[in-house]
Symmetry: C2
């Protein structure tokens, strides 16, 4: 197993000789195995090590976990960075669940610790079982293809060297090395979906196919590889559809309509991701609603989604975090050329020019046809104009 571990670290270029690694240690079997593997192979890999543990204050056992990790690191002779966080308070402040708040606090703590102690990489203990449970969890919740992509071996400063190992192999290694570990009490409570997946669903799936975990892990690796390709295709198509605009994103409707449907849906999702910053709480239904906006005969329509606004304006589709504010209406008369303040802070510059510029979005009047004072006001429902003098009006 140790040979395989070193091979994986090298093949995926997870850390290089001369670098310093921070190992995240909760005290559970996965992170203890991770720490021990790196401890035994640090010399061969030419790296130096430190460990980090966050006391999250969620369960009563958290102080005991911290004590356990301290003893373990002392015994292994590894520098330990300890931190504390009041996750329940954070969760309340951010209106998040305990799990999400705990994950965020842990990540923040790890990144700060790595900075403070000059660590180049941070190792996480996720193994194949976590990968498989995540895939099943997402599938059960109704995820699309993208959601089934495997966790990355490496992302930013984080590495996951155990992704290729089954939980059972890590446990065997711990027994072999006579290493102690702490069991998370919540792991044994089948009320949590994650634990029901582990203790009810996976055993049933294994009765269909004893190699199911290997298959599902391979499956998610293949999906991750295909997602890389999709991201390329999405970027290309998005660049082709994008039009200049002040804020948010403006896409050309005709370019979107010309895309293959699967790519189009992905480009719309990507546009929403860019406008909002993430995809949380967006589902397939929302994307279908955006797509419907493109195909509707109505040339102007608005769509209000969670933390996003999508507006169709003829051949443009706008994506913004929120609907643009209605401009404050105005109505005043001007005696002649000059500079006039509008109620929203903008200014209207009115000047006379010799060189006219008639264009689809500009209209030229001869000074003889204009009589001051002029009345200047914002659009009102019911206003009409004749674009071309051809008898039609809008």
């Amino acid at each position: 197993m140790e040979t395989e571990f070193v091979k994986i670290v090298r093949e995926h270029d997870l850390i290089r000789p001369g670098q310093k690694l921070l190992v995240a240690v909760s005290g559970g079997p996965d992170s203890v195995a991770l720490l021990a593997l790196f401890r035994r192979q640090a010399q061969l890999l030419g790296i130096s090590l430190a460990a980090a543990h966050l006391d999250h204050g969620i369960r009563r056992e958290s102080a005991e976990d911290a004590r356990f990790v301290k003893d373990l690191c002392a015994e292994l002779g590894i520098e330990l960075i300890c931190g504390e966080a009041d996750v329940p308070a954070l969760a309340q402040a951010r209106k998040e669940g305990l799990e999400a708040a705990g994950r965020q606090a842990r990540m923040d703590f790890l990144v700060q610790s790595a900075e403070a102690h000059g660590c180049d990489k941070i190792a996480l203990g996720h193994h194949r079982g976590d990968q498989v449970e995540t895939v099943l969890h997402r599938l059960l919740r109704g995820s699309g293809v993208s959601g089934l992509a495997a966790m990355a071996w490496q992302r930013d400063r984080f590495i996951r060297p155990l992704l290729g190992f089954a939980r059972e192999r890590l446990l065997d290694f711990l027994v072999e090395q006579r290493l102690p570990y702490r069991l998370d009490a919540s792991n044994c409570d089948p009320a949590f979906t994650r634990n029901r997946i582990r203790h009810q669903l996976l055993p049933l799936l294994r009765s269909f196919n004893p190699r199911i975990e290997e298959h599902l892990a391979d499956f998610s690796q293949r999906v991750a590889l295909e997602e890389d390709y999709w991201r390329q295709q999405e970027s290309q198509a998005l660049a082709a559809a994008r039009r200049p605009c002040d804020s948010g994103l403006r896409l050309d409707r005709q370019v979107l309509l010309s895309l293959q449907p699967a790519l189009r849906i992905r480009v719309l999702r990507r546009a929403l991701e860019l406008a909002r910053g993430d995809l949380l709480a967006l589902g397939a239904d929302h994307l279908e609603a955006v797509e419907a906006l493109l195909f509707k005969p109505r040339p102007q329509a608005d769509l209000h989604l969670p933390r996003a606004w999508v507006g169709r304006r003829y051949e443009s589709v706008w994506f913004r975090p929120s609907a643009p504010e209605e401009p404050e209406p105005f109505d005043f008369s001007i005696p002649g050329p000059g500079s006039y303040a509008l109620p929203d802070g903008r200014r209207l510059e009115f000047l006379l020019t010799a060189a006219g510029r008639e264009a689809p979005d500009a209209l030229e009047f001869s000074l003889e046809d204009v009589a001051f004072p002029l009345q200047v006001r914002s659009f009102r429902p019911g206003d009409r104009f004749r674009p071309d003098g051809d008898g039609g009006e809008k």
Copy 2:
């Protein structure tokens, strides 16, 4: 439900007014519901109907099934085409399983019946439950992404108008319409994987998410849409990599190496599909072996796969159903210009020419440097030549 049924038939353009439809009827609930729905909506849809039933001779009940379908069609006033097949004998002759042989016999019978009775389309009774069970079955067996693509609403002459309906809705419709049906005895035997999926796995999945079947059906629809895009991309990349050759397929190694890895694996699979005619019995391991051939430093290597041969020859990769035959060795002397038979049936034309043609694959000799008789023989291991006179040899 009937309104929804008509809407689906029209939206997916499954059959048009004036056409004749053949409905495949086994006697089970799905096909009875399918027949009854079309019977009730035939006038609205402007189509005419016939039914077809194959007595497959697998179980003792098959004669009773045939009798049941005859009575049902007589009562509904629908023309019935009956056929018989000895599926166990066919399976033995073709060395296939009963299920595969039965499916093939049924498809052949339906296509022939449609031809003989002037039917434009053939309706099959697959519903959402079948779709979901297929996805789970494939996932359990270790399928890749492509294997999870939904059945098509329409393919060739076959249509599947019930794909959007859950089994329960079809059963409710049958009760409402007081329609009888036959239950396949094999459906209740949990020894078959398919039935274990239905009676053990799906109930557990529903306890995680009551809408799991809807989710999985949507998931497979999205995969099918994305597969369409992949097929386009594969075709483009394959066309770019393809080089002329006599038989099988020859691809340019450099073009293959330049592809994004997920696309490359798919192009290799497509090449194998074209060389063999199908992808049966090919797995991810085989594809990885073909890919390894591209990256190996050895410029010449052969790979023998089930019903396929892949050969790397420097910058070319060949795909064939079987390895090319080794040419019969020859060794003879020729007294001068003329035409000489080779043992494999080809001929060697030897002539003198005034206009020389020196090229990377052709060598020019002056007649003064050549002394007859010349010895002509095929390649032997150990033969060496100096390509450029620059001191190097091969």
